[in-house]
Amino acid sequence: YSLFPGEPRWPEDRRQLTYAFDPRNALTEEVKGVFGRAFARWAAVTKLTFTRVETFPDSDITIGFYTGDHGDGEPFDGVLGTLAHAFSPPSGRFHLDSDENWVVSGDVGGILSMTSAVDLESVAVHEIGHLLGLGHSTIEDSIMYPTISTGRRKVELTRDDIDGIQYLYGTNPNFNGSSPPSTQQRESSDFGGVGRM
C-alpha cells in the first residue's frame, strides 16, 4: 500500500464521519445503498464509522456524479478512461464520471464479453480508500490498484489494503484479524478484464 505525501488522515476528533450525496444527482436508494456497502467494508476493519446524512454541504464526505469539467481542475473524459477520483483527507470530495455505464447490482459479468459496464461498488471501495488517506498500490489484486477493467467486480479488501488503513487508523476491535480469503475465493469476477489486459 502507499500513503499520500505527509500521510494525511482524518484527525482523532473526526473518526465518526458523515457522508452525503449531491442532491442534484437525485440518486435512488439502490444507488446510495451501493456506497453504504462500500463504506461498511472499510468500517469493518478500522475504528472509523460512516453515517449517511442529508445535509450535503455540511457532511465530511461529499459524493457526486459529474461530467466533463466540474470545477476541481480534474475534468472527466467521457466513457471509460478515468472513472472517478477522490481527494486526500480531510477534503472528503468524491467525484464519479456520470458518462460511465455504472452497474449497481454487482451483476457485471457472464453474458457480454467486452462492454463498457463498470461496477459501481468496486470503484466506490477504491475511492473511499483515497478519502481515508491511501494512495495506489502495486498489488494487482488489492482494492487500491489504480486500474479496473470493464466488467470486473472487485470489492473485498485484501491484506495490503487492510494493513494500510489500519496503519492510519488502528484496528476495529471487532475485526477478527483473520487473513482475507485468497484471490480465488474473493468476491471477484471478470469477463472483459482478461481480454483488455
Partner: protein, 135 residues
C-alpha cells in the same frame, strides 16, 4: 440515465457507442521507439498521472524523447511490467485500461513500491534532460 441494474440492462446502442475511449488511440503507438512522432497526447497522459512532473514548463513535442522514455519506465515499474522504456504491446494494452483519476506519483515521488521511492527531476529546461533516481 447512467445507472443500470446489471449488464444486460445497458441498451445495446449505448454499448456500441462506448466500447472505445479516447485512450484506445494509444494502441497505434505499440512498438514505438525513439524517432517515431505523434506522442504528445501520451505525454499528457503520463503527466496527468504524475509520471511527468506537473511543473514541467516546456511544451510537449511529438518526439519520443527522454521525458517519455523515463515516464514509460516508471509506469512499467509501478505496474510490474517489463521495464524497457519502450511502448511494447503489454504496456500499451495496460495504458488503455480504465482507471482511477488520482495520480500514481505525487510531487515527483512514487510510493507504489512499499517504501521504495522513485524521484523524478528535470536537470533543466535546456535539452529537456530527465532523470529517474531510485532511492
Amino acid at each position: 440515465e447512467f445507472f443500470f441494474p446489471n449488464v444486460t440492462g445497458i441498451p445495446p446502442s449505448r454499448l456500441l457507442n462506448t466500447t472505445r475511449n479516447l485512450w484506445d488511440a494509444f494502441r497505434n503507438f505499440t512498438g514505438c521507439r525513439p524517432g517515431v512522432d505523434g506522442l504528445y497526447k501520451l505525454k499528457q497522459y503520463f503527466q496527468r498521472f504524475g509520471y511527468i512532473p506537473e511543473n514541467f514548463s516546456g511544451n510537449f513535442t511529438d518526439d519520443f524523447d527522454d521525458i517519455l522514455r523515463h515516464a514509460i519506465e516508471m509506469y512499467q515499474r509501478n505496474f510490474r511490467l517489463n521495464v524497457s522504456g519502450e511502448l511494447d504491446e503489454l504496456t500499451v494494452r495496460h495504458l488503455v485500461i480504465p482507471r482511477c483519476g488520482n495520480p500514481d506519483i505525487v510531487n515527483g515521488s512514487s510510493a507504489m513500491h512499499g517504501g521504495k521511492k522513485y524521484e523524478v527531476n528535470f536537470a533543466g529546461r535546456r535539452g529537456q534532460r530527465f532523470h529517474a533516481l531510485k532511492r
